[in-house]
């Protein structure tokens, strides 16, 4: 029988991580995501599944612990919020360069700088355009419910291991803090050393006599070889863009106007769609679930159907640039957002739609 629980998004992440058979979590406290580590520490999974949970001395140390754990083929994760993610970017770039899988959770808050502890979606650029140095991409999942917070732990690890690349769950303070019903995933076994050696032959587990040495590094001083490495990364990224795009359509079939929104903004937009339709406006919502790879093909498809698109984000206009690239001028695309931790109401969205597009 399915067990329905009521909990915060942050708590759901923690429970899902234990149940997934995660080997290690390394974190540093920061609002509004501290419940993730608090829940893990209270659950004491090292006594049940053997999962290691460690409070690091900094976000920098935490991501480098993740680097070390991932290098040995383990399922490891960390979580933080915007300023802390900025600190982790060096490590994230190294992990992309060394092709290591892991899950990173960002429960976004408003910036720049120390900013605010209230929710925001202003780390879109940071996450999907790079953030750290070098040409790399981060698989980015944007949950819009507590259920998806729980489900995306498994999805994040599955994608990270399938492509040997870090994956990020890009949530925000609303999704992290709000309580909802959730069905937690079933328990899975942690991998044994034999399974790791078999499934991740690149992992450092100690060099056996009949095996070659494994070295985890992002360093290659020979430019010809470094270009080859980069070309391999890019080929992998193109493959992810081809096969891993995820999105949800809500009342899009007959839509004349389209809202594009992810995470908590998409939740608010669903209500806006309902209200608009009561008002006689045929409004739909397209919700990107993967922010990278971005669902550009489906957005391009709608560019011939709708009269305008409104990218609704809790930021000053970030995803709107990708929407505009996707439609390539075929239809008008505008942005509506609130900043600094202020969250828009459904009515504000409709007003913005009328002002900017109708």
């Amino acid at each position: 029988m399915e067990e329905i629980k009521l909990m915060k998004g942050n708590e759901a992440i923690a429970h899902a991580a234990i149940r997934y058979g995660t080997d290690g979590y390394f974190g540093y406290p920061i609002t509004p995501q501290s419940e993730i580590m608090e829940t893990l520490m209270a659950e004491m999974p090292w006594k049940t599944t053997g999962m290691v949970v460690l409070q690091a001395e900094s976000e920098v140390a935490a991501i480098n612990m993740v680097y070390g754990g991932a290098a040995s083929g383990k399922r490891v994760m960390t979580s933080s919020s915007s300023p802390g993610i900025s600190l982790k970017l060096e490590g994230i770039s190294y992990m992309a360069g060394a092709e290591l899988p892991c899950v990173i959770v960002n429960v976004m808050r408003g910036g720049p700088g120390l900013g605010t502890i209230q929710p925001s979606q202003a780390d879109y650029f940071q996450t999907v355009k790079g953030g750290g140095h070098g040409d790399y991409r981060l698989i980015t999942l944007a949950p819009y419910s507590v259920q998806e917070m729980a489900d995306f732990v498994a999805l994040g690890f599955d994608l990270a291991f399938a492509y040997s690349n870090p994956a990020m769950i890009l949530a925000d303070g609303i999704i992290g803090q709000m309580m909802e019903k959730v069905i937690l995933p079933p328990f899975r076994q942690r991998k044994t050393e034999a399974e790791i050696r078999h499934e991740s032959p690149w992992a450092v587990q100690g060099k056996l006599k009949d095996k070659k040495v494994n070295v985890i590094t992002s360093l290659e001083l020979d430019p010809a070889l470094m270009e080859k490495n980069n070309n391999r990364f890019q080929a992998k990224y193109r493959q992810i863009e081809e096969t891993e795009v995820r999105y949800e359509e809500y009342n899009c079939q007959d839509a004349e106007y389209l809202l594009i929104a992810f995470g908590s903004s998409a939740r608010i937009c669903m209500k806006a769609v309902e209200l608009a339709r009561e008002d006689g406006i045929r409004l739909g919502l397209l919700r990107p679930i993967t922010l990278w790879p971005f669902p550009k093909k489906i957005i391009e498809t709608y560019s011939t159907q709708v009269k305008g698109m409104l990218s609704v984000e809790l930021n000053a206009g970030q995803m709107v640039e990708d929407v505009r690239l996707a439609v390539n001028g075929k239809v008008k695309v505008e942005h509506f957002g609130r900043l600094g931790g202020i969250v828009f109401t459904p009515d504000e969205i409709i007003t913005a739609l009328k002002e900017k597009l109708l």
């Binding site: 080997d23 290690g24 390394f26 290691v52 460690l54 690091a56 001395e57 900094s58 920098v60 140390a61 935490a62 480098n64 612990m65 993740v66 680097y67 070390g68 754990g69 290098a71 040995s72 383990k74 490891v76 060096e90 490590g91 190294y94 060394a98 450092v204 587990q205 100690g206 060099k207 056996l208 006599k209 040495v213 494994n214 070295v215 985890i216 590094t217 992002s218 360093l219």
Partner: protein
């Protein structure tokens, strides 16, 4: 007795450790790294731990340590080796884990990671090569550069009014409850090499016995950075480095 009668396998008393491969080393002539690498390879081999050992290399001259010792390696970001090693050990308790770090990596950019890994009593070995200079980037001032000692970023010698004092980080680490062994060694003579190997072995054994963090500092030379011949470097090290960084055990919990 003919030479051919003497030179034969059964008379061999010394050889290159099996774990050291034949890749040409990028280290400069006279550099201490080569000897320290050899000692690590010997200790791992003597302990029969080559299939269980994972090394963590730093950013600095030893970034390519993985090219010379035939074990599994992880190359860490600058200063983060103790954090990387922390997770490697906690998630793989039966493995033998060590970091190999220079003075800039361990005592400047990675000070926080070093102190906290040591203070948590991580069951790892931290090999610390202190040559008082940034070798790889071309001889800049290190946290351990001696007062008055010139470098490319303190060309007139380290001025404590401008740069502060050289950091005796091993003394600091010895104060922490989480360390079980903090020792300062060198490799400029055969006797020093033998002594150093003994303490290195102790450090690796400690890590497998779960006694906490072991730190083996090697007071070392950098002929290129110091702009001296290898022989001059050894003499300069004995005359100038040893008085400020005296050799011996700072802490050795039995």
């Amino acid at each position: 007795m003919e030479l051919t009668e003497i030179i034969k396998p059964e008379n061999r008393v010394y050889g290159k450790p099996r774990l050291m491969n034949d890749n040409p080393m990028h280290y400069c002539p006279g550099c201490s790294h080569g000897v320290i690498h050899k000692l690590i390879a010997e200790v791992i081999e003597d302990m029969g731990m080559e299939e269980q050992t994972i090394g963590v290399s730093p950013v600095g001259c030893a970034v390519f340590a993985y090219n010379y010792i035939d074990i599994d390696w992880v190359e860490a970001a600058h200063g983060r080796a103790p954090a990387v090693a922390t997770a490697l050990k906690r998630l793989n308790r039966e493995k033998m884990i060590f970091t190999y770090q220079g003075d800039g990596d361990l005592a400047a950019i990675g000070t926080a990671e070093t102190i906290h890994a040591a203070n948590r009593g991580e069951n790892i070995v931290i090999v610390f090569v202190n040559n008082a200079i940034y070798g790889m980037t071309g001889g800049q001032m290190a946290p351990t550069t001696l007062e008055g000692m010139p470098s490319s970023t303190c060309p007139y010698g380290r001025d404590v009014a401008l740069n502060g004092y050289p950091l005796k980080i091993a003394d600091l680490l010895a104060q922490l409850e989480g360390t079980c062994l903090v020792t300062r060694q060198s490799v400029q003579t055969a006797a020093a090499v033998r002594k150093a190997k003994k303490m290195l072995r102790k450090a690796f054994e400690n890590s497998m016995e779960g006694k906490g963090a072991s730190v083996v500092e090697f007071v070392s030379t950098c002929s290129s950075g110091w702009k001296m011949t290898p022989d001059q470097s050894n003499k300069w090290m004995e005359a100038n480095m040893f008085p400020f960084y005296p050799l011996g055990n700072l802490k050795n919990v039995e």
